[in-house]
Symmetry: C2
Subunit: 127 residues, 2 copies
């Protein structure tokens, strides 16, 4: 059975395109942060805890390319660059936030499941 027969018009791969973005920790954090409003590079760098300059740049380029945010550079000195979510980016934030909310709500259940699993397992795998 070919994939095209199981899923209409390769939507599976299509969805993965966006979903794998959500899998990218930095992308999610950047988009979420920008959900609070327009920000400049250095502000983002400070707001997104732990991100390196390189990864911030890379992430921003990717999100810009996919149309989730717009980049505005001012030809001043020192330079200033603002980043802001597009309508698309803002819309993406909805299902992503829903997922985040689910995560927050159900986190305890996952933690408990892990604890239980590890308890069951560690008896076979001493040390």
């Amino acid at each position: 059975m070919k994939p095209s027969e199981r899923h209409p018009a390769g939507q599976c791969q299509v969805a993965n395109d966006v979903i794998s973005l959500v899998g990218d920790k930095w992308s999610v954090l950047v988009i979420s942060t920008l959900g609070q409003g327009r920000m400049r590079f250095s502000e983002l760098k400070r707001a997104v805890e732990g991100i390196s300059q390189k990864m911030l740049t890379t992430t921003l380029r990717g999100l810009e390319r996919d149309g989730y945010l717009i980049r505005t550079a001012f030809a001043t000195v020192p330079p200033r660059v603002d980043y802001e979510l597009t309508a698309l980016g803002t819309e993406l934030l909805k299902p992503v936030s829903a997922l985040g909310q689910w995560a927050i709500t159900n986190h305890a259940r996952v933690i408990e499941a892990r604890r239980a699993y590890d308890g069951r397992t560690s008896s076979n795998q001493p040390q």
Copy 2:
């Protein structure tokens, strides 16, 4: 401003725990596939196009540990192992599906944004 002041009780990291799962291509595909009902290992292997035996095993272990699915082994020969979503797994499927639906709905916009971006960019980067 400390992170704890911006986000209540480190929920940011908490959410990432689940979200990064969604970032894992195989996890999403396995959970989605199991959304159709209980399946055995070999069925999953065939259903999830392109997954290696190793990754299927690894993915299933992770999902089991987090409480998204249950594993049932039959002491027959040849052995038979069934996998099935738990209530938690089924619930997770909702926000994940919503995201997938969003992806399918808006994929064209992303593609177009990329086309436009690449058009703008390639003029500076010949070849």
